[in-house]
């Protein structure tokens, strides 16, 4: 498993808290898929994550095209997107 970067650790802690996940936040592989087989999240979980991220970071996640879909592929992509959007 790849190591979590600081923002990834923060977001995985947020996910565990919001979704009541049973995995420790530190055990979430930043490169593994969040949805479906990876962490096993469903589309309602993904919606909840997006709401929590909007609240915490002021970053609104959109679902407009394939590029935006990539954001939800892994914790790493998600954290990268939050970081870039916040910096703007």
């Amino acid at each position: 498993m790849a190591a979590q970067k600081p923002l990834e650790a923060e977001i995985s802690a947020l996910m565990v808290e919001v979704l009541n996940l049973e995995v420790p936040a530190g055990d979430i592989d930043p490169e593994a898929p969040l949805y479906g087989e990876g962490l096993g999240l469903d589309s309602i979980d993904m919606l909840e994550i997006s709401l929590a991220i909007a609240k915490r970071y002021g970053v609104e996640l959109r679902a407009d095209d394939d590029a935006s879909r990539q954001v939800f592929a892994s914790l790493r992509n998600l954290a990268r997107h939050v970081e870039h959007t916040r910096a703007r």
């Binding site: 009541n20 589309s43 309602i44 993904m46 879909r69 592929a73």
Partner: protein, 308 residues
């Protein structure tokens, strides 16, 4: 986390009868128009009443519950005929020929009220009558946009059959199978759309809630109610009942002003919502008993592991 291992009865049953019936009726209607298609319905419907064994059994079981007497073959015929009629009309609704019908709207003020805040609301329906008339009525009368959440292979099959009629519709159909599909749904809601979802069929992997319905226990999905809770939007119910001939009665009613729950309390609250919905569903089903278009055993228990 959703319970896994559910094989809902309607997914299990390769409902041979219905998709072929759907295809045939759509084809006839597109080739010949509504009047000739309706003239042919008795023959087509009689054929399917005789040869579709599983759906016929499901129809009889359902009719016995709702009519409270042993159903006759004429009841089963009437049930199939109502289904086939709505398929013919669906071709018309989808191609925007709404004015051919006598559609009466009830309870639109409940939706107006729910949407007074400027954003949309969640519209929960069922495979009862025609959801298509509801969509057409919402668009042509009060000019509400309806985005539909669809969540199974059967719906995709149906969509494919009907897509040729109205390609623009593709935009209004949100497939639940993608990670961002509900984020898309939320965007549509914020744009002021009614977010339509049918809550009377389980899909694979869905958490099942046992609800009392027509004297037995039916298993409804938690998903639509959990979604409504997460979105925190107003929830209305909508049913487009077919009344014979060209007549439809479209009923809307306010279900909940707003559902807002901490995650810890959600499970019990969602189950209560599903049960309340089942009560309303039973009410509308009794209003139009031949409009129940779930031709599978709706009272079959999902796998033991899935009971919640």
């Amino acid at each position: 986390m959703p319970a896994t291992g559910i094989e809902p009865a309607w997914l299990e049953a390769r409902e041979r009868g219905s998709p072929i019936l759907v295809r045939l009726i759509v084809w006839i209607t597109r080739r010949l128009g509504r009047a000739p298609a309706r003239a042919l319905l008795p023959v087509v419907v009689a054929y399917f009443v005789v040869f579709s064994v599983k759906p016929r059994r499901a129809s009889r079981e359902y009719l016995a519950r709702v009519l409270d007497r042993p159903p006759t073959l004429a009841d089963v015929y009437r049930h199939y005929h109502a289904f086939a009629s709505t398929l013919v009309d669906r071709v018309y609704f989808l191609s925007g020929r709404y004015e051919h019908f006598d559609v009466r709207l009830h309870g639109t003020e409940a939706v107006e009220h729910a949407m007074a805040g400027g954003s949309g609301c969640v519209l929960i329906g069922a495979h009862l009558g025609s959801f298509e008339v509801l969509r057409a009525a919402a668009l042509s009368g009060p000019r509400w946009k309806v985005a539909m959440l669809m969540d199974n292979a059967n719906a995709r099959k149906m969509t494919r059959i009907f897509a040729a009629l109205n390609p623009e519709l593709a935009d209004d159909i949100i497939n639940v199978g993608a990670p961002d599909s509900l984020i898309r749904a939320k965007q549509r809601l914020e744009e002021g759309a009614l977010l339509g979802v049918l809550a009377d069929r389980l899909r694979r992997g869905d958490e099942a809630i046992g609800c009392s319905f027509l004297g037995g226990t039916t298993w409804l999905p938690a998903g639509p109610f959990t979604l409504a809770a997460v979105l925190g939007a107003p929830v209305v119910l909508g049913f487009g009942l077919y009344r014979g001939g060209r007549r439809y009665d479209v009923h809307f009613e306010l279900f909940r002003e707003r559902i807002s729950l901490p995650r810890a309390e959600r499970g019990a609250a969602v189950a209560a919502l599903a049960r309340a919905y089942a009560t309303r569903l039973e009410h509308y089903t009794r209003l139009a008993p031949y409009n129940w278009f779930n031709f599978f055993d709706a009272w079959a228990a999902p796998d033991e592991g899935a009971r919640g």
